[in-house]
Structure formats: structure tokens, C-alpha cells
């Protein structure tokens, strides 16, 4: 069983007007891609700022790599890319990367070597003498990513890493995230875009209004929240299907129907029944809820849920 790189225990941070983080605990396994989800203003950034030593928690503890988190010395092993990108506009790209790398404790030659490696990797070599103000948003995003991972941190924290990136560059960064995780880095990936998390993360927590409302692997959570819905496709779709003790028809699709299996029955009971009716079945698969659906279910009947129902894009 892999060791936990980070253990957050009953963390609290109250500001004058609100409880930004209210008693949140979770563990992150070494080498995991950990998703931290939640709408804007849920307290994600405050949580991340405590993990990166920018804020001191009001109470609770953070254990990093088996020891109490020491903001001064441990941040060298953490790479943090804040949601709001920040770079010196008038500084040259190369000098900027070098400066940030050296602030993370790299020696000059070592830093130069690593910058050259990453610039070659992400096809940024020609940028060295450009200034940040001459870069497009996507380009500075790539630079920010490079400066975050350059010093080979054990824990990489990415806050909305894909915002502002075109699909091509987003995929490039996504591949790099997978590669870094494969090489042993642990990644915290914070976002309010639920659909991004499903394909990248293996473990997630869901934060809302400063509280953790969900914690687990993506697979387990989906299993937990599944409603035994199946999609069944027919060669010739029957005009109607009778509800019976085995299943209930809950929806209609072009090639078939959406069925909800009644408690006590298994999917093969459905198939057996339908085959005995001489239907020609061409597909049969389980419909798992999306994280977006789960989130809506969890915060049901709040204005937030209604906003998410109309699509997370509007948030």
C-alpha cells in the first residue's frame, strides 16, 4: 500500500466574514492524481494556499511526507501553479524561468539545464529572449506550467491548469501531467470543471462552502451514486417496452431505451428476459452518473445546483 504524501486533518481557516475552509480532512496517496472539485468560492484556493504554506490554518494539521508540514523548508518540494497566473511582464522568458527555479533552491547550472530540457520538450526554445508581455495567454500558461514543475517537486498543485488553453495545448499539458505522475510525482488538480476530472483523476474530493462533501476514487463514487440505469440498444427498436418486476423504463433513446433495474435483480436478469422475448440486442451498457450529476444531487435544491444543471460553463 503506497504511503500518503499529504494528510490534511481537520483544517480550518476563517476569514472575518466567512468560513473559507471549515473542518476539512483528506489524505493523498503518493503518486496519485488527486482532484479537488468544487464551484468557485468553495474554498479550494484557500485550502491550497494552506497546503503551500501561504496561509496558516486557524486549526488542524497538515502532514507532508510523514512529517508535520514546515512551510519554510517543505515548499521547495512543492510546485504550485495558482489559478491566477502571475509572471513579470517585462522580464525575459528565460531569465524569468531561471529566477523562479532558483527561488525553489536549484543551482544556476542545474536550473539552466532543466529549463533547456523543458523548453525543448514543449517547443519553447525560441522564446528565451521574448518578454512575457509579448506572449499569448496560452503561451504564458505553458511557461507557467514549466516553472511549476521545473524543480521536480514531489507534490505538484495545479489550480485550473487548462483554462485559456486551446485543445491542442491542453492535451499537451494533460500528457505531461500523466507522465509526471507516472514518474512518481503526486498531483493535486483543482478545478470547477467536473468533466475534466473524470478522465484525469483517480481520487477526488468535492468541496462546497468550505466543507468536504465527497471523498473517494472516481470509480467508487460513481458506483456509490449509480442508479442502476442501463442503456439497451436494439437492431429493431420495439415501439414500447412494458414495465415489469425486473426493470422500469425511464427514458427513450434513438436506438433503444433507458432502463432502471429494480432492486434484487441483476443486469443479466434483464438480458435473459429480453432475449426470451426474442428481441435482437446490439448493445447493453451501464449508465454511470457524471460527477456533475452527482454534485448536483448532493447540493440539490440550492441556487448552486440549478446553476450547475444549466451547465457548468455558465459558472
Amino acid at each position: 500500500m503506497p504511503q500518503n504524501i499529504l494528510e490534511v486533518d481537520h483544517l480550518k481557516k476563517h476569514f472575518a466574514t466567512q468560513k473559507a475552509v471549515d473542518d476539512v480532512s483528506f489524505n493523498i496517496e503518493q503518486g496519485a492524481i488527486f482532484g479537488m472539485l468544487g464551484p468557485n468560492g468553495a474554498g479550494k484556493t484557500t485550502l491550497l494556499r494552506m497546503i503551500t504554506g501561504i496561509f496558516f490554518p486557524d486549526s488542524g494539521s497538515i502532514i507532508f511526507e510523514g512529517k508535520k508540514f514546515d512551510p519554510v523548508n517543505d515548499i521547495i518540494r512543492i510546485g504550485y501553479m495558482p489559478e491566477e497566473r502571475g509572471l513579470y511582464k517585462k522580464m525575459k522568458i528565460g531569465e524569468q524561468a531561471l529566477y523562479l527555479a532558483r527561488l525553489k533552491g536549484l543551482g544556476k547550472t542545474e536550473a539552466l539545464e532543466k529549463i533547456k530540457y523543458w523548453f525543448r520538450r514543449l517547443e519553447m526554445e525560441s522564446w528565451w529572449n521574448k518578454k512575457v508581455q509579448d506572449l499569448s495567454k496560452g503561451m504564458s500558461q505553458k511557461l507557467q506550467f514549466v516553472t511549476t514543475v521545473l524543480h521536480e517537486p514531489h507534490l505538484i498543485i495545479l489550480d485550473e491548469p487548462f483554462s485559456g488553453l486551446d485543445p491542442l495545448n491542453a492535451n499537451l499539458i494533460k500528457d505531461e501531467i500523466f507522465r509526471l505522475a507516472k514518474n512518481g510525482s503526486t498531483i493535486i488538480f483543482s478545478t470547477h470543471r467536473m468533466e475534466q476530472v473524470e478522465e484525469i483523476c483517480n481520487h477526488i474530493v468535492l468541496i462546497n462552502k468550505g466543507n468536504k462533501i465527497l471523498d473517494g476514487t472516481v470509480k467508487n463514487i460513481k458506483q456509490e451514486f449509480k442508479e442502476n440505469l442501463f442503456h439497451i440498444g436494439f437492431e429493431n427498436r420495439p415501439d414500447s417496452l412494458e414495465n415489469n418486476s425486473i426493470f422500469e423504463v425511464t427514458g427513450e433513446m434513438r436506438q433503444g431505451w433507458v432502463l432502471k433495474i429494480q432492486t434484487g435483480y441483476k443486469p443479466h436478469d434483464v438480458l435473459q428476459y429480453l432475449l426470451s422475448q426474442h428481441h435482437e440486442i446490439i448493445s447493453f451498457n451501464e449508465i454511470l452518473p457524471s460527477l456533475n450529476d452527482i454534485f448536483i444531487k448532493l447540493v440539490e435544491d440550492t441556487p448552486l445546483a440549478r446553476a450547475f444543471q444549466s451547465g457548468p460553463e455558465t459558472l
Partner: protein
């Protein structure tokens, strides 16, 4: 410590390498020296470049046909006879004269109507030089009429300056109040400008980091305090560099001027530079000024300047940094700047008073109060300040600077990560008293 030095290095190099730094650093002394050179050129040129050919019709016999020449006077004087004012008035130009001086016959007791004819208005120097000659001649005539030997009269005439001996225990020192006052004023103005210019630079730097959101990236690598202190020290070093370059460049320029145009400097102390503007500058005065400068406690002044520059800069830079961290727009900054600008301006006002009256209560208070002491003490130190006052002022400055840095760091730490919200004084107070 390594991180602070990295931050200092960046703050320093990113400014020093900028083109605008090079321009201001080189252009400012050039402008100052050019200004200086123009003043000298006007000053010296006005006297020497215009030489006149003067025709004199001396009907009063004031000069007895003989003009005493000053050594620096290149004009020529020709006495004419057998003419009248009206007849010669139309002719002097054609005979090659620029000026025609007519002295009518006159009674000793009545001031004569002396006229100087010219084609265009005569310059002040030439006019006053002629007036001086005529006055001397008239005085001489009157002395003789009163049966007083002009030689005796010259010995009787008084022209004194008071010399101020300061008995400070370390033997007698001569002090020249005018020189001390000028040096005081210069030192005070310089400190005032340094605090203002470089303080604002710190504030802008902090605002840039905040609005660009770079602060959050940096504070995930270094402590906010390191970032703030690094910026303050880095910009302070930029200021010192700029001053060092200015001093060197101005020194070189003055040296080269005196090398290429030695005449300018030889003529400077020349008594022939008389005239209204040059009243103070005669050879005796120059020597006095130089002696005055030598009599000042130069080491102490220099030491105080450096100390109050550093102390005052660190104190105000911390305040400016705190302001920069809580605002996101220039307009907001202006409002918060007001309480910081007030003691600066107050210090400036007290300093100008202190240069005239260094031991007045307000000057002593101003030189103790840490927010004004860097400026005011420069106005006093040239006159000699009691040691206990100097030490108390410096100690207070250091303590206040430490205290303000501590306060500023607390405000800075929270403010720099707070976006889009206007921060009230009440909130800032909360950040201060909050622990941790």
C-alpha cells in the same frame, strides 16, 4: 538568506538593466552640468564678450583726460574735444564708437545730468562699470574739495564681515552661517527627494506584483517578508548606484570643463566680475566660502547623510510597500498616500526653518521625531548638534524603522494576496493585531 539575495538581485538587475534607468542616470547629470555651464557662460560671457569703444565728452573735467583702467576691462575710452553733445550725438557712430558718454559741467553740490548715448540699450554690466568709474571720480573730487586725502579716506572706510567662532570644546572652529545653511538645505532636499522617488518606486513595484498576480507564485517559494525586504533593499541599491554614477559623472564633467576651459574657472573669482549679480563673489568671499566648507564637520555630515538616507529610506519604503500591497489602482493609492506624504512634507517645511534656526524647539522636535528626522536632522547637523540629540534621533529612527517594517510585513502579507476588494483602515488594523 539565499532567497532574499536572489530577490534583491532580481529587483536590482531588472531595474538597472532597463533602458530608462540608463537614460535618467546619464541625462540628469548632463542636464545639471549643462545648466551650470550655461549659467557660467552667461555670467562670464556677459562681461568679456562685449567690448565697447566709448567716446567721452568730459565738459566737467571729471577725469582730467585720463581714465583709470581695470585689468579686465577691454573697452577703450577716447576723450573728445571741441564738440557739443548735440553735434557729436549724430556723429559718434560713424566715427567708430559704440557709446558716447556726455558729462556736462556741474556744480559740486548738484548731481549732474550725465547721459550715455547708444544705438541700442546698454547692458547692465557696462552701465554699472561706467557708473562706478564716474562715482569714484566724483568722490575723489569732493574729497579733494573737502581737503581730505583720498588715501586716508580709503583707510577709514569700513567693510567688515562678522566671523563666528564656535567653541565646541574641541578647540575653536570657524563657522560660516551662510555656507552651513546652503549645505543643510541641499542635504535636506536631497533626502526628501530620495525618500519620495525611491519610496514611490517601491510602491509601484509592489503594486505591479500584486496586479500581475506574480506575488502568489513567489510566496509559494519564498516568504512574503523576504519578498518585501528583497524589493526594498534591491531598490535602495538602485538608488545608491544611481547616486554613485551621478557623483562620478558630474565629477568627471566638471573636471573636463576645468581642463578644457580653464579661463572660465580662473575668471570666476575675479573681482572684475562686479555688477549687481556678482556682489558676493569676490576673491575674499570665495576664500571665505572654501574656508567655510572646510570648517564644517564634513565627516559627520557625510556619515549623517548616509545614515539618514538608509534609515529614512527603509522606514518610508516599508510604509510605501504596505500601501502598494493593499491597493490595486493608482487612484486608491493616492488616497492612502496622503497620511504618508504628510510627515514628509512637514519634515521638509521644518527643515527649511531649521537651516535658519537650527536650535528652535520645532527644529529639535523635528530632528527627533522619526518620521521627519531624516530630513530635519540634515538641516541641523551642519551647525553642530549635541551628541545626545544625534544619538537619540538615530536610535529612535532605527527602532521606528524596525517597528514599521514589522507592521508593514503584516499588512503586506495579507494585502498582496487580496484582489479586487477595497481594504479599509479597520481591516488593516485587524491584520495587525491578529497573531500568527
Amino acid at each position: 538568506m539565499k532567497k532574499i539575495s536572489l530577490i534583491i538581485e532580481r529587483e536590482y538587475l531588472s531595474r538597472v538593466k532597463r533602458r530608462s534607468f540608463l537614460i535618467t542616470t546619464l541625462v540628469v547629470p548632463l542636464v545639471i552640468v549643462a545648466f551650470y555651464a550655461i549659467i557660467i557662460a552667461v555670467y562670464v560671457g556677459g562681461e568679456t564678450s562685449t567690448t565697447y569703444r566709448v567716446a567721452i565728452l568730459d565738459e566737467a573735467g571729471l577725469f582730467n583726460g585720463r581714465m583709470e583702467m581695470d585689468k579686465n576691462d577691454r573697452s577703450t575710452y577716447t576723450f573728445i574735444h571741441n564738440e557739443t553733445e548735440t553735434s557729436f550725438k549724430t556723429k559718434y557712430k560713424n566715427e567708430g564708437f559704440n557709446l558716447f558718454l556726455y558729462i556736462p559741467p556741474f556744480n559740486d553740490s548738484i548731481a549732474p545730468q550725465i547721459r550715455l548715448h547708444s544705438q541700442s540699450a546698454v547692458n547692465l554690466f557696462a552701465k554699472s562699470a561706467l557708473e562706478k568709474k564716474i562715482n569714484n571720480a566724483i568722490e575723489k573730487k569732493r574729497l579733494i574739495a573737502a581737503k581730505i586725502d583720498p588715501e586716508i579716506y580709503r583707510n577709514i572706510k569700513a567693510d567688515i564681515d562678522i566671523e563666528n567662532a564656535v567653541d565646541s570644546g574641541k578647540g575653536e572652529k570657524k563657522s560660516i552661517a551662510e555656507v552651513a545653511s546652503v549645505i543643510s538645505l541641499l542635504g535636506g532636499i536631497l533626502i526628501y527627494m530620495i525618500l519620495l522617488i525611491y519610496g514611490t518606486m517601491v510602491m509601484r513595484g509592489v503594486m505591479e506584483e500584486k496586479t500581475n498576480r506574480i506575488a502568489e507564485v513567489i510566496v509559494s517559494s519564498a516568504k512574503p517578508f523576504q519578498l518585501m525586504l528583497g524589493k526594498i533593499i534591491g531598490i535602495g541599491a538602485v538608488g545608491l548606484t544611481q547616486f554613485a554614477i551621478w557623483i562620478v559623472v558630474m565629477g568627471l564633467l566638471q573636471f573636463s570643463i576645468s581642463l578644457f576651459f580653464p579661463a572660465v574657472f580662473q575668471q570666476m573669482p575675479d573681482p572684475a566680475l562686479a555688477g549687481a549679480a556678482a556682489q558676493h563673489v569676490n576673491s575674499g568671499k570665495i576664500a571665505e566660502v572654501i574656508e567655510g566648507i572646510r570648517s564644517l564637520p564634513l565627516t559627520l555630515i557625510l556619515f549623517s547623510f548616509i545614515f539618514y538616507f538608509l534609515g529614512g529610506y527603509l522606514l518610508y519604503a516599508a510604509l510605501f510597500a504596505a500601501i502598494g500591497s493593499v491597493v490595486s489602482e493608482d487612484q486608491e493609492a493616492q488616497q492612502l498616500l496622503f497620511p504618508v506624504m504628510m510627515p514628509l512634507i512637514l519634515g521638509f517645511v521644518i527643515m527649511t526653518k531649521a537651516t535658519n534656526d537650527p536650535d528652535s524647539t520645532i527644529a529639535v522636535f523635528g530632528s527627533m521625531f522619526p518620521l521627519t528626522s531624516p530630513i530635519v536632522m540634515m538641516g541641523r547637523v551642519t551647525y553642530g548638534v549635541p551628541w545626545w540629540q544625534l544619538c537619540a534621533s538615530m536610535l529612535l529612527l532605527v527602532l521606528t524603522f524596525l517597528f514599521f517594517t514589522w507592521i508593514a510585513a503584516k499588512i503586506y502579507r495579507t494585502g498582496i494576496l487580496l484582489y479586487g476588494k477595497k481594504v479599509t483602515w479597520k481591516e488593516m488594523w485587524k491584520w495587525l493585531v491578529r497573531k500568527g
